[in-house]
């Protein structure tokens, strides 16, 4: 399959290849900006149909202006032949004036997709959900006056006041418990842990109360709570700030566990999590907060939502399946580029949801490629990769042409020194080597090659 060179837009089977910018400045083509959600289909992208012109304004002033400018942009975009899609219309679209202006500002871009950092994606998702439902409130350390330890909740205190954005004292057990109690009553709390490492101090409330209450009370007490915060390794923060808890929370029935990668993931999955009646553990990544991804108009719409439990094929391939979540998706995509140069076409799956795990998508992919590499940042024993391996063995054993490879963090508490830290976390080269091993392309037999 002919691969487009970087920095070129190219019609590829009728789809747009949108440039994706990595944090180190490299750009490569990938499918970006469109999701597998809702009524968007691959075919749908070919149809051009007018967008629903009924724009509901969320700010009282300037709406007419934004509506006018929006149509200006649309016409221009259409002229470029870029914007060809059918947008899921569920009632009126709500466009913030600010967003409208940002879209206009991005007119300069040749693509219709604008870029958004994961931080802004999360912030806007929280903002829109709080605006839509007065029961949603945010609680955590430094979320209010400080604007959020990682600025995810920036501006929310000013907009919604101290009754809906609560600064908590330093007691994870306390505010997790309070959140669970509020959820018992019927509110929809979004509890922020400064990092999920600190959720260990509240894990009883998450597991024994939030996860199990609906079951134990035979459906009488539901807990529509979201626990969110950065998870996994950052950079140079040592053992107690670097663990990935996806496998731990993913093991517990009653919870839903989500791991967004891109801004689209962040927006869609956070909105889905807040709207979900079950408790959701939302694992973000500190290093992804500042990373910018292209987002389509559909993603920016306030009714945008991604389904929970569906993985996304970030890159189609036919030789080896690479599953990853959170930051590792970026690494897997880089590995895919490197492999492509050597003639190995890798299919990269962004899991998006650890529980429920999209076993159907993973198995379908493995049945196509016959080889599997699982990638995760967390510890190897009882990890997400172990579960995926087991699932593939159970459902697609005959389809495997090679042993499954698991790439994970080293089985040690995270060291601090930069050189050691680099050795303790998967790198792109590890993924490339593992993929090659499944293709019997490596000469050394040892897994440490």
């Amino acid at each position: 399959m002919h691969r487009a060179a970087p920095r070129q837009r190219q019609e590829h089977n009728g789809e747009q290849a949108v440039p994706h910018r990595y944090t180190d400045g490299r750009v490569s083509t990938q499918r970006g900006g469109c999701s597998n959600s809702g009524s968007i289909t691959e075919e749908g992208m070919h149809k051009s149909s007018p967008l629903n012109p009924t724009l509901k304004r969320s700010s009282p002033n300037g709406s007419t202006l934004s509506r006018f400018l929006f149509w200006e942009l649309y016409r221009e975009a259409d002229m470029l032949g870029v914007l060809r899609r059918e947008v899921a219309c569920q009632g009126a679209h709500a466009w913030g004036l600010e967003q409208g202006l940002r879209v206009i500002a991005s007119r300069a871009l040749s693509s219709s997709a604008k870029a958004m950092t994961v931080r802004d994606a999360l912030n806007s998702a929280l903002d829109e959900e709080m605006s839509a439902d007065p029961k949603v409130f945010v609680m955590g350390e430094e979320v209010g006056e400080y604007q959020g330890a990682y600025k995810i909740t920036k501006g929310l205190l000013d907009k919604y006041g101290p009754e809906r954005v609560l600064d908590a004292p330093i007691t994870e057990a306390g505010f997790a418990g309070i959140g669970v109690g509020a959820a018992y009553y019927g509110l929809r709390p979004v509890i922020e842990f400064m990092t999920f490492n600190f959720s260990m101090q509240a894990i009883d409330h998450i597991i024994n109360s939030a996860a199990k209450s609906n079951y134990m009370s035979s459906g009488q007490i539901s807990v529509p709570i979201v626990f969110r915060g950065p998870d996994g390794a950052a950079a140079g923060v040592g053992a107690q700030h670097s663990q990935c808890y996806a496998a731990w929370f993913g093991a517990c029935p009653g919870l839903k566990v989500l791991t967004p990668y891109s801004s689209e993931d962040a927006r869609g999955l956070l909105k889905a999590a807040i709207r979900d009646p079950d408790p959701v553990v939302f694992l973000e990544n500190e290093l992804l907060y500042g990373e910018s991804f292209p987002v389509s108009a559909e993603v920016l719409d306030s009714s945008f939502c991604l389904p929970i439990g569906k993985a996304k094929i970030e890159r189609e391939g036919k030789d080896v399946t690479i599953t990853a979540f959170s930051k590792m998706v970026g690494y897997a995509l880089q590995a895919g580029d490197i492999l492509a140069k050597e003639g190995i076409s890798a299919e990269v799956i962004n899991l998006r949801s650890i529980r429920p795990l999209d076993r159907a998508a993973i198995n379908a992919s493995v049945r196509k490629t016959n080889r599997l590499v699982t990638v995760e940042e967390g510890f190897p024993q009882h990890g997400v990769g172990a579960e995926i391996c087991a699932s593939v063995l159970e459902d697609s054993f005959e389809y495997l042409d090679a042993a499954v490879e698991r790439i994970s963090g080293a089985d040690v508490p995270m060291p601090y020194a930069a050189n050691l830290e680099r050795m303790a976390v998967p790198q792109v080269e590890d993924i490339v080597r593992a993929a090659k091993r499944t293709c019997y392309r490596s000469t050394a037999l040892a897994a440490t090659a």
């Binding site: 009754e163 609560l166 908590a168 004292p169 007691t171 057990a173 306390g174 505010f175 997790a176 418990g177 309070i178 959140g179 669970v180 109690g181 509020a182 959820a183 018992y184 009553y185 019927g186 509110l187 709390p189 009883d204 409330h205 024994n208 109360s209 209450s213 609906n214 079951y215 134990m216 009370s217 035979s218 459906g219 009488q220 007490i221 539901s222 029935p253 009653g254 839903k256 979900d276 009646p277 079950d278 439990g309 429920p356 076993r359």
Partner: protein, 476 residues
């Protein structure tokens, strides 16, 4: 209803900070003069140091030297009565280095209405009960006692897997329930089934839950005594201790946001106050000004741990002030005291939208649960004494009968009827079908997820194929 506190035993009195740590009760050792602040050696316990006048003047001058310039400085010669603005507020100075003692001679007194025999103590003030409420209260206490006795026996006979009694704490259970409003949301620990009883949970419902039948709350998901009822505003009992405390603050905060005239009521035992969650809940509730009523049933024992090994403070009531929470200590075996105090506390919580702590002193007459034999760690005579001579039910009964509202004949009749009712409920529950197979998978999430649907389907197919191996007591 009734007369309220007529004398000066009104709110100001209740607020009186009668915990006096600072002064002369503790022994005061005089020490040789010290040379500098850093040179002094710590003395053993009960160390209240007193400086000589000379040193205090020196210290006062030093204190003056470090005072911030924008403070109002009193022109007191010896440097006393100065204050300084620290984060958290203005604090007065003292030149006396005094440690607040860890123990006082005088413990916080305990509010009580009825004496040991059930007669109102002279001069006491309490919320008057009318006949209907008083009789209902007494009958509920009897129901609770009989239910406990028979269910406990059933466990001993092997018909139930587990049970936990509230023997000795019937007054706390029922009087609290009577004093609250049905809108108040209860977050129990596990020794408060009397509240459900008062609110209308039937004996049959209790039995269904304990036996895990298809009729029970819980669809057989919980072990016995883990009752709950959304309709009766009683959150399901949760096994980990004290988790309900911060959750109560959350419920209370939600009530506050809703503007409802109700509060959250959280129970814990003396042991539960050792959990981190207790601290988090009290602190947080005070900071958030959440309308939650914390009720601590201090019954002296946490399984085999006596309170002397649980904490070294003067019980739980003194902890309230540490968090900025109003608190009171009451005689938990005195139904009238409990009723009056809880009524007052609830009113404060709802009107002022602030937390209140009530410590009810009582005694756990029964074993911790059916998994415990408390004679192994406490004397039988101690248990007997509380059971016979300090029984909350006897005291209340005496008072009710003295008012002419109850008689021995009615007592016998009631006990007979209740016994029959409870026995029958157990017999029926034993024979009732257990929950069906589908209940294994439902309610894990709001909607049955695909993996569980697959599992259920696969299970049912297996059952069809191997009908003879499938247990007969699981309805399909």
């Amino acid at each position: 209803m009734g007369s309220w506190f007529a004398r000066s035993r009104s709110i100001p009195y209740l607020l009186k900070r009668n915990i006096s740590f600072l002064h002369a009760n503790s022994s005061c050792k005089t020490l040789p003069p010290y040379k500098s602040p850093h040179g002094f050696r710590e003395r053993p316990a009960a160390s209240i140091l007193s400086f000589r006048r000379l040193e205090s003047t020196l210290a006062g001058k030093q204190a003056q030297a470090v005072a911030y310039t924008d403070d109002e400085v009193d022109s007191d010669a010896d440097g006393e009565n100065q204050s300084i603005e620290f984060p958290g507020g203005r604090v007065g100075f003292t030149t006396q280095m005094e440690f607040i003692s860890e123990a006082t001679d005088k413990r916080v007194p305990c509010y009580r209405v009825l004496d040991d025999d059930g007669f109102p103590i002279a001069g006491t003030r309490f919320e008057q009960l009318d006949e209907e409420t008083a009789v209902k209260m007494y009958k509920s206490m009897v129901s609770l006692q009989i239910m406990d006795t028979i269910f406990y026996e059933a466990q001993r006979q092997g018909r139930l897997s587990f049970y936990l009694t509230s023997t000795g704490e019937e007054a706390i259970n029922i009087a609290t329930a009577a004093a609250l409003s049905p809108d108040d949301i209860i977050l129990p620990q596990y020794r408060e089934p009397g509240i459900l009883l008062w609110r209308g949970f039937s004996i049959e419902e209790f039995a269904s839950q304990c036996f895990g039948t298809k009729d029970g709350h819980g669809k057989g998901r919980q072990m016995p005594i883990h009752y709950g009822s959304k309709d009766l505003n009683f959150i399901t009992v949760s096994s980990p201790i004290a988790t309900q405390l911060p959750q109560a603050a959350g419920v209370a905060y939600s009530l506050k946001m809703d503007g409802k005239e109700a509060c959250a009521v959280a129970f814990t035992g003396d042991g539960g106050t050792s959990e981190g969650d207790f601290h988090a809940a009290m602190n947080f509730a005070a900071v958030m000004e959440a309308p939650v009523l914390f009720i601590c049933r201090n019954n002296g024992w946490a399984i085999s741990t006596p309170v002397s090994e649980q904490f070294r403070s003067d019980g739980v009531v003194v902890k309230g002030q540490a968090y900025g929470i109003r608190s009171i200590r009451i005689d938990g075996n005195d139904a009238l005291a409990v009723y009056s105090a809880i009524r007052a506390a609830r009113m404060m919580v709802v009107r002022e939208q602030k937390p209140v702590l009530v410590e009810a002193l009582t005694y756990r007459v029964g074993h911790h649960s059916t998994s415990d034999d408390s004679t192994k760690y406490r004397s039988v005579s101690e248990i007997e004494q509380w059971k016979r001579t300090r029984n909350p039910m006897t005291r209340f009964r005496n008072w009710v009968q003295a008012n002419g509202w109850w008689s021995d004949k009615e007592e016998t009749e009631l006990r007979g009827t209740l016994r029959q009712q409870v026995l029958k409920a157990i017999q029926i529950a034993e024979k009732t079908e257990k929950p069906s197979l589908g209940d294994l998978f439902s309610d894990v999430y709001d909607k049955l997820p695909s993996n569980l649907q697959e599992q259920e389907k696969s299970l049912r197919q297996t059952i069809k194929r191997h009908k003879q191996d499938f247990p007969a007591d699981v309805p399909l």
